[in-house]
Subunit: 339 residues, 2 copies
């Protein structure tokens, strides 16, 4: 059975492309408030669980021992655009661990932001591992290891103590079994474990509320949420979905994109967690779906819903700025009488 269409791109009033997907909205007790498509099949959450992967950095006391700032904690959860602030913050984290970029094992790539990438080229620069969108997460791993007196070398390997602690936190919060069988290699070389959307949504309901988590872990989750809410430009970058949503909603929503059309979120006030996977990996559809779910379940007033509308149903423009169509939620997420 195929998953339903969750978003469609229109051109000239005609559906040009359509994206199928699945998703779950779950409360901290595990009750499923909404489900569409297959929410039991394990999917790789990729970068959407960076905030859960950052829990050991806080819980272990490493962040306190190294006096990491809220901005640095936010960067540990980021898929950043490689802007100068992101790069400087990653460098500062590593310095607190007594290290530099040579310790990073994420690989180098040009900044995700085309603007940042061109600015670097204009200045005659070339990218290092600090510009990798995952450099903050990796700097967090290095801080965790160094603070515990563990050699960070090969910290990306599944059997390194850092990855064992990280996997244990993700398994604990989501309730999912993480095994070699469900393991793949992520874009930045760390393991990524496939987890059903139902478990991911439950994990984010717990992460957003603290319910169902041990006291220390609940406190760590709250501290990460506060750090990200205070620095929404750090977790993504200028013009990006997560930055725009959290700049608007602040602590009322935590959202995190992942590669291949995965999106996770917590709505702390509503007590809900959300997990979405677009079958084909399309980020545009995952964003529209997530925006639609935030609007439907966030319980927000009109003053917040209105500025979210362009994220729910973005107008599609061509190179001359002419509107050629629209991307809109569809099927189980179709809009009913406006955003």
């Amino acid at each position: 059975m195929s998953n339903p269409v969750v978003a469609e791109a229109l051109r000239g009033g005609r559906v040009e492309s359509a994206h199928r997907g699945s998703g779950a909205v779950v409360d901290a007790d595990g009750a499923v408030v909404l489900a569409f498509g297959d929410i039991e099949r394990p999917v790789y959450p990729r970068s959407a669980v960076k905030a859960l992967q950052a829990l050991p950095l806080i819980e272990s006391g490493a962040a306190d021992r190294l006096a990491l700032s809220p901005k640095e904690i936010a960067l540990a959860c980021a898929s950043h655009s490689g802007e100068s602030e992101h790069v400087a913050t990653a460098r500062a984290m590593l310095a607190k661990a007594g290290r530099d970029e040579n310790v990073l094992e994420c690989g180098a790539h040009w900044p995700l932001s085309e603007q940042a990438s061109r600015a670097m080229a204009r200045a005659g620069g070339t990218p290092s591992a600090l510009h990798n969108n995952c450099s903050g997460k990796h700097a967090g791993f290095v801080c965790l290891a160094c603070s515990e007196g563990i050699d960070p070398k090969s910290y990306v390997a599944p059997d390194h103590s850092v990855q064992c602690e990280v996997a244990s936190a993700v398994a604990g919060v989501t309730g999912a079994q993480l095994s070699e069988e469900t393991r793949g290699v992520d874009g930045c070389s760390i393991p990524t474990y496939a987890i059903p959307l139902r478990a991911l949504a439950l994990g984010f309901a717990r992460f957003g509320t603290g319910q169902g988590l041990e006291r220390g872990r609940a406190g760590a989750a709250a501290r990460i949420r506060a750090a990200v809410a205070a620095h929404p430009a750090i977790v993504a970058g200028a013009g990006r979905f997560d930055t725009e949503v959290m700049t608007l909603l602040k602590a009322r929503a935590f959202t995190k994109t992942g590669a291949e059309g995965v999106f996770c979120a917590a709505l702390p006030q509503a007590g809900l967690g959300i997990a979405v996977k677009v079958d084909d990996g399309g980020a545009r559809a995952a964003q529209a779906a997530m925006a639609a779910l935030i609007v439907r379940f966030g319980g927000f007033e009109e003053d917040v819903r209105a500025p979210l509308a362009p994220l729910v149903a973005p107008r599609l423009m061509n190179w001359n700025g002419i509107e050629t169509g629209v991307l809109r939620p569809a099927g189980p997420l179709a809009l009913r009488g406006g955003v």
Copy 2:
């Protein structure tokens, strides 16, 4: 009824993402050799029909009157990467029409090629309409108008004589009805008319063989194919699918990508035309599907099939050059015992 899965991306041996789509392989008499999914629904062919849109430039005698070179004719069919050779060729075409880039109505964007884009930034440049991937097609439109003594102003409008000639050629070759009802605005502001895949595939079978076309049009098609075969780096750019395939196969295949997962091709020796649309617009899936169809229907020897294999089932690498998985044709296009 949903279209079948035509390509899937694997990570750690598990299907991470899957793309559905439809496609047709048709001979010049209209016989359907292979069909999967819905091939009757009209889809916007976007840039995949640039070669058909270039027919009036040749048929009208404009290309001869302005002494356009084969390289310039190839650029009229291109979705180019904005490399310096592409830009210089577009400029030269306009000069032959007594014009410059100010006449272009496609809009400006940074070169599609990240390398070309960064090289431009490094040199302190900013893009003009010449860097738009469609600038060659637009330069061809300007040449057509000017050569016929027609004011090129508003040449992108559906009722400008240039677009009427272009639509008439596309309708004639494909046999499809093009009307206001099936019209959308393309990324470069010209009209794009939705056409069923069956008709697109028939059109490319005719374009590739000349069968079923009037003598003058058949000659124009042959001239365009020869121009592109002689300049495969002009129609796309370094490392891109169309350039790689035609560098390898030369006149034995004509392939052209379009936005939103559309792909058209002609296999002149086999007498076949191919048209593919990936539901979600995913280019990676359209490429793998097209590569699989070329291998299956091209009748090529092993010496050609082997170098095509990385296009049929590209390995997916991460930022450290570690192989994380593979993208492979699936369902009706699944490989049977190797490429």
